[in-house]
Symmetry: none
Subunit: 128 residues, 4 copies
DNA sequence: GTGGTCTAGACCACC
DNA sequence: GTGGTCTAGACCACG
């Protein structure tokens, strides 16, 4: 899977990285138990600081999405995608609420919003 | 409408405020042309600095959601809720993409996600 | 000539008023020596404060565009449009410079800019 | 590139700064990807407050003209000068309309106005 | 009374 | 080191 970062983005580098890995999992590029590049390798490959990669990995580790093992390296958690929809749903609901508020303020109604969500899910499922 | 902020939140204070006002509009608590508290009043009411409130108001002003008048105060734009979906959809799509990625990683599929979105829209429409 | 103000505008009321009168002269709606409504009449007609109208008139008076006479009321200067392009050109050039800078930053080149200027002049000349 | 402000000007300090930077880009003094001084450095150099510089930079950032990076500083956007004439033209047209009105009131006709615009564009292109 | 601008100094996150 | 946020207090323009 190709990871790339945009130094011009408003998002911090480590957030971009974490988002892309999550995206890769959602899209199926990255499967449970798949290995990820080592911190050093990925950093040099992307031309960014080692600490930045490390921070991204740490974030995902805390979310339980990846497993970091000192000697075996980093890999996708085997239980990712499994049923652990505990506290996340609360967070998600709040985020949806914000997005929906903004959308309504910008004249985008439920129908159109749902259409966009469906498109994104379809995009995720598509092989590309 | 009750506005409140959480100083412990990860979100900046002014972002929280802007979000709540957008939510209030989407939910119908705040109607087009409704006045908002003055910068100073709201600041003292919330126990925060005047400039923080001002920054939130300015953000909404640039989004075209509220109207700021130097001498008459602040109120909801009368054209809010109207159809002015200019460049916002591009931004929205990217945000949905991120949210969907995160959701899939957390075992939340399309069906469930769409259900949550529908619930939020219903919540917005409900009188409460 | 119909004068109207937009209380939602970012521009101050008196600036809007002054701009409209200048526009009316440029467009030919208002001719040299034409009378203008009294401060009180115009204020009540527009539903705004007397001081606001007064301020607009004062601005135009200082620019030499209108003549204010305590007993005879207010009228367009008879020498308006005449040759008094003294200090104004310096101001204008600076304003054009700013506008051109912005335009270039937004990808609008000389050809397009000149086209827009010509359109505006044509619009001014048209009877409507 | 030399930046300087006039504390006696009618324009706010941060507007002056933003204008000068836009001018610098239009004139070619500042090229895409060129770095700008840090907020603190520029502030002390100009003898003004850090926040004032920050406000100017923020304005340009929201216009998409400069790129602000929390840890790497500020630089001219690499896509500035590209063709991204979205909603700006509407704003520009209104500004031109005002300027043309004023000019006609001051006895400056289309021919002279166009001449001035051409001069400014030429000035922008000239090496100096 | 209103918001807008400017100053000053503090702390934080990022890299 | 960088910019971002928050606080605090001042003065100004507008109506």
């Amino acid at each position: 899977m190709l990871l790339q970062i945009d130094v011009n983005s408003e998002e911090t580098l480590y957030t971009q990285l974490a988002n892309q890995i999550r995206y890769g999992i959602a899209k199926g590029y990255l499967q449970p138990d798949d290995p990820l590049p080592s911190v050093r390798n990925l950093a040099s490959e992307l031309g960014i600081n080692m600490h930045t990669v490390s921070k991204a990995y740490n974030k995902l580790k805390e979310e339980g999405i990846i497993i970091v093992n000192r000697s075996k390296g980093v890999r996708i958690s085997s239980s990712v995608l499994a049923d652990r929809r505990t506290g996340y749903e609360t967070v998600l609901e709040e985020k949806i609420r914000q997005l929906v508020s903004q959308s309504i303020c910008n004249g985008i109604g439920e129908k159109r919003f749902l259409g966009m969500v469906k498109n994104v899910f379809t995009e995720m499922r598509s092989e590309t």
